[in-house]
Symmetry: C2
Subunit: 171 residues, 2 copies
């Protein structure tokens, strides 16, 4: 078997996809952000087969996105709560949401993300925390981190040589 | 066959996943952001089987993320370029990247996203474009948009009743 390319083992975006990239997992996390915690709530929301839901919940617990907690002793019943790691996934869900509303809702939005205080519609953009400047393909570049392998350093160098004017973005 | 739940047909995040949520598709888009355009570049980067790569590229062209352009007449050769719709997917890739670096790189980063001008590492956060305030589960709420179905309105109302203190985030 071929070893996996460094673009898959070292790129944090690829690792993120490998961890929670499965379609159902992301929708379960989305529903957890809406306050759902129980098996039957997820099942009703998603219209998902129980065996698939069980497997995806177990996977999200194993990867540390959700914590499983017993909320009833007799009968034994469990709920699933977002961990800090799971809560940190929020920008991914919002970025998908924003892109979907812009490009996949040509007749208008069915859902709008709004400010909790004044219900004003929000326009999510990604900025650098320090300078509050937008993060775009044009103004960013990928650089090797402290743990970059030789293979990853070579990859970054060859990308730069291939197309010096296009911003590399994720390894 | 059961009709799909409104949480899947009307939620823009779910629609986004349905359109490009497949693991390989997102990695191809990621590589396109790095300047790759040609079949063999993607193949070498991803270590993907040619038939799967063909299928994923065709899907990305069909969904309007990539445009296929002939760059050589004899022999006929094609390249794949990000469309504006594809370029708008950038925040999703960066959000995955950021989460992966925070939670899946315990020994340090292999890759860092940096400012193109001064190579300063960037700390991407999601803010509202108008007020530049961070967008979090705690300060956002989902409201029905102009195209919300009755089913979606009921869903939002029941989520609110279920857990009024947790911020609903994506339908």
């Amino acid at each position: 078997m071929q070893p996996k390319a460094s673009s898959r083992t070292e790129c944090p975006a690829a690792c993120a996809l490998e961890t929670v990239g499965e379609w159902w997992s992301i929708l379960i996390v989305r529903d957890a952000f809406q306050g759902m915690t129980r098996f039957d709530e997820f099942q009703k929301s998603l219209g998902i087969a129980p065996n698939i839901l069980s497997r995806r919940l177990a996977h999200l617990v194993a990867t540390g996105m959700l914590a499983r907690r017993r909320y009833s002793e007799r009968p034994p019943r469990y709920e699933y709560l977002l961990t800090p790691k799971g809560r940190d996934f929020f920008p991914v869900v919002v970025a998908l949401f924003t892109w979907g509303n812009k490009h996949l809702a040509p007749k208008g939005e069915a859902l709008t993300l709004a400010d909790r205080q004044d219900a004003r519609p929000l326009d999510p953009v990604l900025v650098d925390a320090a300078r509050l400047t937008p993060i775009t393909p044009a103004n960013t570049v990928l650089v090797p981190g402290p743990r970059a392998s030789l293979g990853m350093r070579k990859r970054l160098a060859s990308l730069k040589a291939m197309n010096p004017h296009i911003s590399p973005v994720a390894g």
